[in-house]
Symmetry: C2
Subunit: 566 residues, 2 copies
């Protein structure tokens, strides 16, 4: 069982030190501290365990150290920054694990960019040695890249020439889309096993600058000081404040973070129990019921009170639990192909939380909470399992929890004619949070994606004061199906049986194609185009066959290709 929870006192591979506005995040991978058997993490190469720590750190910086304005990512190993994903780990992993590994590392890098873009924190990759493969892909997820000029250190993407696979963590896309490097230069760079060093790497736009060894640290320090002086205070910035908005520098104010404590979870054979999230695994039928419990009534409404509640504030705790549950299901329960999303709680209490969040969205903590909720929902969008939302009496698919329904591949809402049920009506509703604060990877809200053809309907939904009952919700197109009491149980049961009988691969490809209508962004290009190609290559004999390049890497035997182009 792979556990995605960790904390700095448990880190093996990263050291985080925070001094005022500067965080130093140093990679020092312990080669024997691996997640699985059969490989050593030499030269700061990484496996999923290393990336789980990185993801945790980035998250903690945002919540525990809001005063940080610059994160410097560097290495404690001499002459090597990071050698990328460990090749022997990849070579011995199943196809499914490779795919899930790449997805998680992609999400971690997108989380870095999310922090930079929305919270204005600037990430500086201080490459004190060679950054190859995933090592350079980590650098290119940062805002600025500086490479030591020691006559030896280089940046490189050697996957294609050495391993016969793609740089799987967004590298190719970020070359041409983020750094806008000319495609012919990107082509040359991506086929050059040894990569490029200082001068040429800078000329081609692969790095921002290089400094000789003797001046490397002082040059990085100077650049960091310059950024700190330029950046605005994060505390009072708006939702998109920061460097990207070119706001004038403001006086720094001392910020106090909150502590992210370990989540309490009871893992049993039959499922997972958190405080607000509950997962029941129906293994025989290959589906899970995931229920999110809504908040209590009368939660605090001021930032100071919320800050005092810290990580036990419902939106933060519930979404942390949801995030953990999704990751658990992805990696530890591959045969669960369908997740039925359910909610329980009081509609008004959820809407009250959303009101508080929107009213205080400019407060640093509230902003971070909203941004985090958005990332968790995007993790759901990108999960290779089917999702059905089940809307029943007692559910509270409203506001932020309505996004669970909108993120689902289908929704079923009970159209009850039973009087006893009418006392507990089945209703859904939007809040201001559904109007833009929780975007998908494609930049649209889930409601915008849903109503691409009906902008009028979209407007109408936000004009309605109050909730939608089942008939209204079906009429307006908010739910897929609205069976009545008589049909309800059978219809859900048959839908589950049918879904879980289908080819899991075809469903993965179908859902990846249907979930993201409308515009594409760098993120969707990474998760759609690049990931799909990488997955394809990850099962090609030229990569993973007996004579494949990945299989034969580091062995005396040579890869032998079937040269037919496909």
């Amino acid at each position: 069982m792979i556990n995605f929870q960790t904390s700095p006192d448990q880190y093996h591979h990263w050291k985080l030190t925070v001094e005022g506005p500067v965080a130093n995040l140093s990679m020092d991978v312990q080669e024997d501290e691996t997640l699985a058997e059969g490989y050593k993490l030499k030269l700061n190469s990484y496996d999923l365990g290393v990336d789980i720590e990185l993801a945790d750190t980035v998250q903690r910086i945002r919540f525990e150290h809001p005063e940080v304005k610059v994160v410097v990512i560097t290495s404690l190993k001499p002459r090597i920054f990071c050698a990328g994903a460990n090749i022997y780990m990849l070579g011995t992993s199943s196809h499914a694990f490779k795919v899930n590994f790449c997805k998680f590392t992609n999400e971690t890098r997108c989380a870095i960019e999310d922090d930079s873009h929305h919270s204005g924190r600037r990430y500086v990759a201080a490459l004190n040695g060679t950054a190859s493969g995933g090592g350079y892909e980590l650098a290119i997820a940062c805002d600025e890249i500086y490479l030591v000029d020691d006559g030896n250190s280089a940046v490189s993407l050697p996957e294609v020439p050495l391993l016969g696979v793609l740089p799987g963590t967004g590298g190719l896309t970020r070359l041409v889309d983020k750094r806008k490097i000319r495609r012919d230069r990107a082509d040359v760079f991506s086929t050059l096993a040894e990569g490029l060093k200082g001068k040429r790497a800078k000329e081609w736009g692969l790095i921002d600058d290089s400094f000789p060894t003797s001046k490397f640290q002082e040059s990085i320090d100077a650049r960091v000081r310059a950024i700190v002086e330029q950046t605005v205070s994060l505390r009072n910035g708006s939702g998109t404040a920061g460097l990207n908005d070119n706001e004038p520098p403001q006086t720094d104010s001392l910020l106090y973070g909150i502590k992210l404590n370990p989540l309490a979870v009871d893992v049993k054979p039959a499922g997972l129990e958190y405080k607000y999230v509950n997962v029941v695994l129906n293994r025989e039928q290959r589906y899970a019921d995931l229920t999110v419990q809504g908040p209590a009534a009368n939660l605090p409404t001021t930032p100071d009170e919320i800050q005092k509640l810290g990580d036990s504030y419902w939106p933060l705790q519930a979404y942390r639990e949801l995030d953990d549950a999704l990751l658990y299901l992805r990696v530890n329960e591959p045969e669960i192909g369908l997740v039925c999303l359910r909610t329980e709680g009081n509609i008004d209490d959820v809407l009250a939380v959303d009101k508080t969040l929107m009213a205080n969205k400019d407060h640093w903590l509230v902003r971070e909470i909203i941004l985090y909720m958005a990332r968790v929902l995007r993790r759901l969008d990108l999960t290779a399992k089917s999702f059905f939302a089940i809307v029943e009496p007692g559910s509270c698919f409203v506001g932020n929890l309505l996004e669970l329904m909108l993120a689902s591949d289908r929704s079923y809402m009970l159209n009850s004619t039973d009087d006893s049920v009418k006392i507990e009506p089945v209703e859904i509703a939007v809040s201001e949070l559904n109007a833009g604060a929780l975007p998908m990877s494609n930049g649209l809200t889930r409601l915008q994606s849903r109503f691409l053809a009906e902008p009028d309907t979209l407007r109408y939904i936000f004009e309605v004061d109050g909730s939608f009952n089942t008939e209204d919700a079906e009429e307006i197109g908010l739910v897929t199906f609205a069976p009545d009491d008589l049909d309800w149980e059978d219809e859900i049961r048959v839908a589950i049986e049918e879904r879980t009988s289908l080819s899991p691969d075809a469903l993965t490809g179908m859902e990846a194609s249907l979930r993201f209508a409308g515009p594409e962004t760098m993120d969707t290009k990474i998760y759609g185009r690049l990931t799909a190609w990488q997955n394809w290559i990850f099962q090609r004999p030229n990569a993973v066959g007996e004579k494949g390049a990945l299989t034969n890497y580091g062995k005396p035997t040579q890869a032998q290709f079937d040269f037919k182009r496909t």
Copy 2:
């Protein structure tokens, strides 16, 4: 050897009749007229041979029947429109063939949409029976879809539930992006083997209307008449004229098409020889030299003269030859992994042709020629082979032929210091045609894609009056490398050797990722996201393994899935 050339007198599967402004294109697949052994094309199912005829017809309508305003696609078989790609053909084809087959059928459907969008011809799918799988995907590539309401006929995408693969010809993307069908409804539809019939299919937006059997033909006829009355004359429309621009109807004028005669090509073991295109296959080294010969001097400059020349006018003939050569290389020469693109001719003569084309771009034939050149260049962008442009003395990479260089993954331009060479200078230049008339699938020009980071450079390139020599071209970033005489041969030789030594699969995925920086369109989503996922699924054991769904379709044995989600 698969031959992509055909003509109506050779068709087995389609009947084209043209009556004034209306073309009737009827599918009547002959089940024994297959491209390969081992399957029968029952129920209007198709193989590549059927689609080659369809592609040819669409092309001919544009050039030979410019008077046509509406193309009605229907079937001559009772109760069945089209059952899609033949499943036994897919089941017995190699992975590479399946991928190339899907790419070509996608290009044919995009060509239909290109005609509709740019030439204003309207395509009406008259579904006189069930349209399933690729049959419905053909319909959804049309502008309007009408289904007979006979109590039985349906539209469906049964690939996921029946075959464990994706609808591979753009169906999923067009559901949510073109017809903007809600993603939950698209999800239900795409997992429903039997599909949906008239009323519900219309309600969900899958078809535009349905008519009872007794009124089907007259309803189609009435709709066709209405379109004819609404549409503008094509002859004098601008490059993007037509329905999409809501221009007022103009008086119809009689148009005379030109004849597309068979291309003369000499196919030898060592390569292909057309009039303007020459392909030398270096099979041992797994690369080809493809040379395009520029036009003669003093070609005609008026539309009437061009129309008299017909298909022997250089731009049309040279690009038809190029198109045929690309298709030949894709399907018949899979081991050729690299194509070195070369040109020969006089720079001024190429630029003179471009000037003529731009000056007359509103004339129907010139417009069709430019649109066709753009499609051929997009076919090149989408070809899964590496392309290097080799710019030498005597080459003419200018104007439209410069696009060959810009479409290449890299370019090499000789930086000659040899006086004898200076007499025949190595130069490149843009023409007005490079500024927008030949867009990539992503909607950008190749120069825009190249200079995403440098809009100033892009502007400068079009301000320069005259050509760029090698030093200027390298300085400004138009070419990748500029070796001098001493290094030239070695550098090209080593580059070819290195390229062809790499994993062909990794190169395919890398090139697909690097060639399309910037925005995405429905086309790039189809060729990137959807195609990559389909290719992935096409090699999964759940589809093509011994117990896979595709393998076991139609057999007494049942598919058995490994239910792990990836």
